[in-house]
Subunit: 199 residues, 2 copies
Amino acid sequence: MPSTTETLTAERILEATEEVLRRHGPAKATVVDVARALGVSHGSVYRHFRTKAALREAVTKRWLDRTSERLAGIAAAEDLAPERRLRDWLAALFEAKRHKAGDDPELFATYTVLVDELGGVVHDHIADLTGQLTRIIAAGAESGDFTAPDPATAARAVFHATGRFHDPGYAREWTTPGIEEEFEAVVGLLVRGLRAEGQ
Amino acid sequence: MPSTTETLTAERILEATEEVLRRHGPAKATVVDVARALGVSHGSVYRHFRTKAALREAVTKRWLDRTSERLAGIAAAEDLAPERRLRDWLAALFEAKRHKAGDDPELFATYTVLVDELGGVVHDHIADLTGQLTRIIAAGAESGDFTAPDPATAARAVFHATGRFHDPGYAREWTTPGIEEEFEAVVGLLVRGLRAEGQ
DNA sequence: CAGCTAACAGATTTCAATATCTGTCAGTCC
DNA sequence: GGACTGACAGATATTGAAATCTGTTAGCTG
């Protein structure tokens, strides 16, 4: 039973893949399942994605990009003071990840598996996020609020230092009681470390 | 073939267990293997450890404690300036973990598996390490080198912020080229954040 | 009698046969 | 004739029967 008569597009395949992953999980989701969900033969799916890995990569990239886009808005908010912008951005990153993990834990676990079987995608995602952070810190350095000889290095340091609050490997900890305070303590320390001497 | 005629002690069982883990890995190491290595029946092992989990826990605790002990020396070196002491301690922690991981990757992977199937042991280990950090930071706060209203909170923040350089989950990254510089950048930022206003 | 063994029940793991999946391609169908 | 199918070979996953392991205990042994 074909779900619609529309032509088969990469986009429709990605949507079906996401649904199959949600239902079956990363280990049991097959290309045949995706084709079945679309009412086509699996050969047709291979017309749009050369391998199963390419399909998984595309769907994962889409998922990661949805997070980056939301944060890009904050990174671009040049009206806010740099410190405020940095704190908001980090809080939004934490909140976004935590929400994804808490909302639908199985889907989050699924994407976590996909993410670390796909080296390149994560690398790009992290480059994207640290790029946004670099822009915030560079703005702060220019305005004199921050001391940062090399904003890109400082951005990576801030990103790594807050890993506990956005790296999926720590997702289990995101529901423990004191986590908000831990986050505040780490961010507070980092912001103090970035601030220019005369405040 | 009994390896010796000595009486069977908990200590001898732990040594044999470590050897069996090194040889077979965490998934295939059995209590029967340990007993065989000691030339006794597995029932004798159960006389000293109530369950297989208890045996694994004891051997893991021993392994973690070997790291803590080395660091305790630095934490107690009260002749060093607080900032120096903090930097040395963090560098020693990174170095210790990195060495363990690089030296015998399979044994490290084995213990990593054990560590995160045993919730309580890690918790104690982390409490031990953050306790050492707290003492260093508290000393810095007293001497006026650091600003830290709550040294224990600051210690946990520093520990979490440097997770990338001691959490086994990141072991893969410890051999990548820029890791030393990343470490320096994070530690530099944290130390700046801890320093009292007038330097 | 303290320390050990050996045999056991139930749970878990292994292994090999069987089924399913991936990726290709010759051929069908608007 | 461009999008799709369906049959195929080799790779991977599933399954269930057999082997092994965990944890207990009755009894041996020095």
